[in-house]
């Protein structure tokens, strides 16, 4: 039972982290109609910035704040310099253009920081395990991730549902032309949304940095999951991204934790332990396929009118 609760916490933590990435992706995709493969590069930059700034300032929190600000700025600059040229073009052009950006950022990071990667140590006050429920020890850092990401999710909810900017964002997700026709400065809105998405990706990268290592290409694997979440949740919907991210986080973690045992029981040790990793990593995609068949718009489609 303790093991089950611990695995659920792991799933929750992973899901919330994926939400940070997917939220930015779904906003950009939904509002700007832009497929941004380079979202993972912003995640990587967030991690590199955090490791660098934390080493400079000697403070984890200060490094994190600076890293988020820096990715926000990089994101806004990226929108102004590169992304603007892609609006109104074919999705294939988006894919090609932003794929080029991935290569660009990977090489840029190699030039600046070298190929070896960096490490961002967990601050001492989080580098231990705490008893969150009687008898259940859990990593303090992972618990902090859960708290911080939930706070960010709440902030996003208030921002999108309760403020004027949020109203424009939602309006942009449902009907971009109309928002522009009503005299809203859509260019500025796009820059802000893209910057916000970049900052969220940067935050995700910064949060992952102490768990994983900071290295070139770290954003590419996790980006695939973020796309799956966008598809499951419905393009442009923050709420959808939240639900789908938790779903994917739980399925991935619990699948890895308990599926192999079940398979070993069913198929015997040799076949079971070989097939289990492959099958458990397939489960997310099976979920996506089912959702696509049942609700092709995703769970919470933003532009369903």
């Amino acid at each position: 039972m303790t093991l089950f609760i611990e695995q659920c916490l792991n799933g929750l933590q992973f899901g919330l982290l994926l939400f940070l990435l997917a939220a930015g992706l779904t906003l950009v995709f939904g509002i700007m109609d832009l497929v941004n493969l380079a979202h993972g590069s912003l995640y990587m930059l967030g991690a590199y910035f955090a490791a660098t700034f934390a080493a400079w300032t000697g403070s984890f929190v200060l490094g994190a704040v600076l890293a988020i600000l820096a990715t926000l700025l990089v994101g806004m600059a990226l929108e102004v310099i590169a992304m603007r040229r892609l609006y109104g073009r074919d999705h294939l052009d988006h894919v090609l253009g932003t794929f080029g950006l991935i290569l660009f950022f990977d090489e840029l990071v190699r030039l600046i920081w070298g190929p070896g990667g960096l490490s961002l140590p967990v601050p001492p006050w989080l580098d231990r395990s705490i008893e969150i429920l009687p008898g259940i020890q859990y990593s303090a850092y992972r618990f902090a991730i859960i708290v911080v990401t939930l706070a960010v999710a709440a902030f996003l909810y208030v921002l999108v549902m309760r403020t004027r900017v949020g109203m424009l964002i939602r309006a942009g997700a449902s009907n971009r032309e109309m928002v522009g026709a009503l005299g809203v400065n859509i260019k500025l809105l796009y820059t802000l949304v893209f910057g916000l998405g970049a900052a969220l990706a940067g935050l995700a990268g910064m949060i992952q940095a102490p768990i994983l290592t900071v290295q070139i290409g770290m954003g590419e694997n996790i980006l695939i999951l973020a796309f799956v979440i966008t598809v499951i949740g419905g393009i442009g919907s923050i709420r959808g991204a939240f639900v789908a991210a938790l779903l994917v986080g739980f399925i991935d973690t619990l699948g890895r934790a308990f599926f192999p045992q079940i398979l070993v029981e069913l198929l015997g040790r040799q076949a079971g332990s070989t097939a289990a990793p492959a099958l458990s990593s397939m489960m997310i995609y099976i979920l996506m396929a089912v959702i696509l068949v049942v609700k092709p718009q995703g769970l919470f489609a933003a532009n369903s009118r």
């Binding site: 093991l3 611990e6 070896g116 140590p121 070139i216 770290m218 973690t253 890895r256 192999p260």
Partner: protein, 392 residues
């Protein structure tokens, strides 16, 4: 007309091919070196290249009186890319030797074109067991080990230490399965569980670590080469397992990853056939000059690549540069007439080294972390797959 042209050109080709051995006046020694030079594990490839270049410096950039030319190719950690690059080296660069290879799955995809072209393959790391056993070849040599050898040494050591139960975690690819499989053949206690994770994409081991903790095993044994080893150790500490369950490993800690693993690696025990602190003259020269030239301590990948270059150098010198005589080159390689940085070195019948394995523990000296040799696990053991190899 067309047919005649075809026949003529075929004849011409045949003539050229037949002529080749006669053109024995070799102008240079050409070596292809396949490793990973991009992405997160590029630092391993760079370390291997540095060591290979250092060996060439030590040889005066000549082998058997001939100048040496090395073509480095990047496998990008993908078997299919490694195969293409290897084919290019053999078919269009016409290299005399192919060396390098970090990854078992890459070398297993790539060895055939080399062997089919009767070119010599000197593996500097990848320990795919089938190349030492049923798929062994007169053209394949290794300056490393097979994937199961080091884990067997660790298991023997744990048996001696009286470890009763263990939990195993490793990546789900050829080397991961052979590594944990080798461990299981030698470990006398109970294996309470084993997890294979998706390679190389899975980097969060929280689910597996939670299971290991719940199993209440005496020890955890894991295998994660490259950056994944850094992540595993960080997460091991964060999950509160460090200090409560002793950790054993192979190939997951080296001089490239230690500066990032730091305290998380302290006290972790592993087994290798080489250590930077082994007190033989060849090793002192290698480690000293490596540090001087590149500013870092060499990794075991570097040590094996250095030996690979020295082995090739000794063979070319042994046949006095006449590389067309394949049988003679093979004999010269088998002799292994060079001073290995690991000390004693000789080949078994399957062209894999007969060698000793040492236990190493991560210690902190001042501000830096190193692996210290603490015991000899096995002395001069032959490669266990020689029995399955048809070469006797």
């Amino acid at each position: 007309m067309r047919k005649a042209l075809l026949v003529a050109s075929t004849a011409l080709l045949a003539a050229v091919a037949a002529n080749n051995p006669a053109m024995a006046q070799q102008k240079s020694v050409k070596i292809g070196f396949v490793s990973t030079f991009s992405g997160p594990v590029a630092s391993i490839g760079d370390d291997m290249r540095n060591a290979f270049e250092l060996a060439l410096d030590h040889l005066g950039r000549k082998m058997g009186g001939l100048p040496v030319e090395v073509v480095y190719e990047d496998d990008t950690l993908k078997p299919e890319v490694g195969k293409q690059k290897t084919e290019k080296l053999v078919e269009s660069d016409k290299v005399d030797f192919v060396s390098g290879f970090i990854w078992s799955n890459v070398v297993y995809a790539s060895y055939k074109p080399v062997v089919d072209a009767k070119t010599f393959l000197v593996i500097a790391n990848a320990g795919e067991t089938r190349l030492a056993g049923e798929n062994c070849s007169p053209f394949i040599f290794s300056t490393a080990w097979t994937n199961d050898q080091n884990p067997i040494a660790v298991a023997d050591y744990m048996n001696q230490k009286g470890v009763k139960s263990v939990y195993l975690i490793g990546p789900n690819y050829a080397a991961g399965k052979e590594n944990l499989g080798g461990f299981k053949t030698a470990f006398k206690g109970k294996v309470l569980g084993e997890d294979y994770t998706t390679w190389p994409s899975q980097l969060d081991f929280s689910a597996e670590l939670a299971k290991a903790k719940a199993s209440k095993a005496d020890a955890v044994y894991m295998f994660y080469p490259g950056a994944a080893g850094v992540q595993f150790l960080n997460q091991y500490a964060q999950a509160g397992l460090k200090g409560s369950i002793p950790l054993y490993t192979t190939f997951s800690i080296d001089s490239l990853s230690l500066p990032r693993q730091k305290d998380a690696a302290l006290g972790v025990i592993s087994a290798l056939q080489w250590g930077a602190d082994l007190p033989n003259d060849a090793n002192k020269k290698f480690v000293g000059d490596f540090k001087k030239k590149f500013g870092t301590e060499p990794s075991f990948y570097a040590a094996q690549s250095y030996d690979a270059a020295m082995l090739i150098g000794s063979a070319v010198a042994g046949v006095k540069g006449n590389l067309a005589d394949k049988a003679a080159v093979q004999k010269a390689l088998e002799k292994a007439d060079f001073k290995s940085v690991r000390g004693d070195f000789k080949f078994g019948s399957n062209h894999y080294p007969t060698q000793s394995f040492y236990m190493q523990e991560v210690v902190k000296s001042g501000e830096s972390y190193t692996q210290k040799t603490i015991a000899t696990a096995e002395k001069n053991v032959p490669n266990p797959h020689a029995k399955q190899c048809s070469m006797k």
